[in-house]
């Protein structure tokens, strides 16, 4: 599904990603862990085409297409979704209008007719249930006045609406209490099918208690320094990152 080769990227001229190699197959769940400032969020932003980042080297193939050649909206239409770490508020734009524009843009890209108002509202109702999102929230402006937990639930709701092939969850667990975490994680699990893949970016094991990864990577100083099975996450939880940092720094020398 996703094949990243020797990816280098900079922001404001500073190199953050220094040669990422990563392959995600259809149906897999990958966890990317790592200390602060290791480049986790940069990786997710680069993949979805945030204009602040510049790719200086490397390639990314997404279902046979050159991802880096696509505009951010086309990457979305092709089935790439990012659950933002900090979802922005868009005052004045109702969730209904926002999602309707998003869903119909995707349909247009796929050569389908736009949904009628009633079909669309039915879809909204259905998908809202996945993350127990209140009707009141759905009628408000995008993320405006939402609590931290509501914003993250709203991200997963949008994921349910857009049915992406590959979802990137960027620290979706940050700022969530244990109940909100459960609802969000269960939402993600309900949406998971053998045809979809997922990259979970997180600091902590606790989200991975709910969303079980097949493969765990550790990102450090812009490179993936360790890849293993789910047991790696548990080990990190116990031992912290210092031993990995030491290993990687030694290898560097």
């Amino acid at each position: 599904m996703l094949e990243i080769k020797d990816l280098h990227a900079t922001i404001n001229g500073k190199e953050i990603l220094k040669g990422i190699n990563l392959t995600v197959k259809t149906g897999e769940v990958h966890a990317i862990m790592g200390p602060n400032g290791s480049g986790k969020s940069t990786l997710s932003n680069v993949l979805v085409g945030h204009p602040a980042y510049e790719v200086t080297k490397g390639s990314v193939m997404f279902n046979g297409k050159d991802l880096l050649a696509l505009s951010p909206e086309d990457r979305s239409h092709e089935g790439l979704f990012l659950s933002f770490q900090y979802p922005v508020e868009i005052p004045g734009v109702s969730m209904v209008n926002f999602m309707r524009a998003a869903v119909n843009e995707k349909r247009k890209y796929m050569g389908q007719e736009p949904l009628s108002a009633s079909e669309f509202l039915k879809l909204m109702r259905e998908k809202r249930a996945v993350v127990e999102l209140d009707n009141k929230l759905a009628n408000r402006s995008v993320n405006e006045g939402f609590s931290g937990g509501e914003k993250k639930r709203n991200e997963i709701f949008q994921m349910a609406m857009l049915e992406p092939k590959l979802s990137i969850l960027d620290e979706t667990d940050s700022g969530l209490d244990i109940d909100a975490l459960r609802i969000v994680a269960e939402g993600v699990n309900k949406l998971k099918t053998p045809e979809t893949s997922c990259i979970v970016i997180t600091h902590y094991q606790r989200l991975l208690d709910y969303i079980k990864p097949d493969i765990v990577h550790v990102l450090y100083k812009g490179r993936i320094v360790k890849t293993a099975g789910p047991e790696l996450a548990l080990e990190l939880e116990e031992r912290g990152y210092d031993w990995i940092k030491a290993e990687a720094d030694t290898a560097d020398r």
């Binding site: 979805v48 085409g49 945030h50 204009p51 602040a52 505009s71 951010p72 909206e73 979305s76 239409h77 979704f81 990012l82 933002f84 979802p87 922005v88 868009i90 005052p91 004045g92 734009v93 109702s94 209008n97 926002f98 524009a101 998003a102 843009e105 995707k106 890209y109 402006s141 995008v142 949008q158 857009l162």
Partner: protein, 483 residues
């Protein structure tokens, strides 16, 4: 109730555009320059009565003593008033492009984005259409409906001939020719415009619109509109249209006067989309407009709604004088400036009567290198016990090279008055736009979505079909402003 006849009228209106213009094609143009001779000639050509000639001459004499106002936050180039022809007769079709192939492709692109039918596009861009002048029957259809109710809706020239007493009574009663420089100029040389009279107790059954008044095709650069709503009457009036209007006249100085009698209500909606100049700031219309209504009667109500997206320079303050006790006034405005456009617009609410109420909602949107100012005055006179005003002025910035300014003035002479003012300035952030694009919404559409959300309160005040067009217009006006 109201929807059906409206739909019919719109259909008829669309029909009419197919065949375009008035048959009455003048070919003569008065020489450039402005003097008493020219004014006498204009009046003579229009076959006007002496009192109107006198009105024009008085205005002209007063205008000569005045200077162009410089207080607005606008950079206005020198205007040579002697270089303008004040009786430019309607264009003959021969001057226009011969087919759509000769029309600016950018303009056609915009037409298509707004969903304007081809026939209408041709009419708007002045393409010579083989006119089948079948429009008389169309005109009669809606005219009959109005006549039945005793409503007068015609060009102001026609009103001068057919209803001289009404025109004489009210012309200049709300905006006297001494009011300001541009009002004096308009009073001296006004070309044409609309006249509306709604008799006592009559609710006008349809939206009245310059858009479908056949002879509005060339009301020219000095338009004059007079609306009188008699006791217990109601009318909703629409001015302009969302399609971009090209005009060879750079200077526009219009006057709109509205008189609202006891318990009457007038809603006046404008969509202004005159040519704003190109992306480098060349060309574009200078729009200096004086619009004012007098809520003369008790419990009367006047509501201004405007969507201003066009013109290189906009100088416009639709205002209300709340004379009658318990009268109410509203001003809802969205002003968009892009590229090198400048707008200085707002309102004046003059509270004279008791328990008068006014509401001001102004939404400015600036992009490119444009300058957008809100300027508003709330005055409460000594006798206006219990007057209330609520003002809300919001500015939205796109990019960091444009400017938004707010100039609220308050002049309160009665201690029972309650006056509230709120103002906000916000910016469309890159993060907001990226959030939208990640969800599959292209940047330009995202801007449209955000801007329409921001302007929703005002757009909602427009008549339904107008509102849908205005939404598209906002998005189209801001194209190329981001990214």
């Amino acid at each position: 109730m109201q929807d059906e006849p409206n739909k019919l009228v719109k259909e008829l209106a669309a029909e009419k555009y197919k065949y375009g213009f008035t048959t009455d094609v003048h070919t003569d143009i008065i020489e450039r320059g402005l003097n008493e001779e020219v004014i006498r000639l204009i009046s003579e050509k229009k076959g006007e009565p002496d009192w109107l000639l006198e009105f024009r001459l008085n205005a002209f004499r007063h205008w000569q003593t005045m200077e162009m106002p410089r207080w607005a936050h606008l950079d206005i180039p020198e205007i040579d008033y002697q270089a303008i022809s004040y009786y430019a007769a309607p264009k003959t079709r021969k001057d226009g492009p011969k087919s759509m192939d000769e029309v600016d492709p950018e303009l056609i692109k915009t037409f298509n984005k707004l969903g304007i039918p081809l026939e209408e596009q041709m009419a708007l861009s002045g393409v010579a259409v083989d006119a089948v002048m079948d429009s008389v029957s169309v005109k009669t259809t809606y005219k009959d409906a109005l006549i039945e109710k005793g409503i007068i809706f015609c060009s102001i020239s026609e009103a001068v001939r057919e209803h001289p007493d009404l025109v004489k009574k009210y012309l200049g009663s709300v905006v006297p020719y001494r009011d300001n420089f541009f009002a004096a100029l308009n009073s001296a040389v006004f070309s044409d415009g609309s006249f509306v009279y709604i008799p006592k107790g009559v609710r006008c059954p349809m939206e009245l619109s310059t858009y479908f008044r056949i002879n509005a095709a060339n009301t020219g650069q000095f338009e004059r509109t007079l609306i009188v709503a008699d006791d217990d009457s109601y009318v909703s009036y629409l001015e302009g249209c969302t399609a971009p209007m090209r005009d060879e006249n750079q200077l526009h100085a219009a006057i709109v006067e509205i008189v609202v009698m006891d318990r009457a209500e007038v809603k006046y909606s404008t969509v202004q989309n005159w040519y704003p100049g190109d992306a480098e700031g060349k060309g574009g219309v200078y729009n200096f407009v004086t619009k004012r209504g007098n809520c003369k009667g008790v419990d009367s109500k006047l509501s201004w709604t405007q969507v201003e997206t066009g013109s290189a320079i906009t100088w416009k303050y639709p205002s209300c004088i709340l004379t009658g006790d318990n009268s109410q006034a509203e001003f809802y405005s969205v002003a968009v400036t892009n590229n090198f456009q400048q707008a200085d617009t707002g309102t004046k609410m003059i509270h004279l009567g008791r328990n008068t109420r006014s509401t001001i909602i102004s939404k400015g949107i600036s992009a490119g290198r444009s300058q957008n100012s809100y300027r508003g005055l709330v005055r409460v006179a000594a006798k206006a016990d219990g007057a209330r005003n609520y003002s809300q002025c919001d500015s939205l910035l796109l990019g960091d090279k444009c400017g938004a300014h707010t100039f609220p003035y308050m002049d309160i002479h009665n201690e029972t008055a309650v006056v509230e003012h709120e103002a906000t300035t916000s910016k469309i952030s890159e993060d907001q736009l990226f959030y939208c694009t990640q969800r599959g919404i292209p940047t330009e559409d995202a801007v449209g979505l955000i801007v329409n959300g921001y302007a929703k309160e005002v757009i909602n005040k427009l008549p339904m079909e107008f509102a849908v067009e205005a939404q598209k217009l906002l998005a189209v006006s801001l194209e190329g402003s981001v990214g």
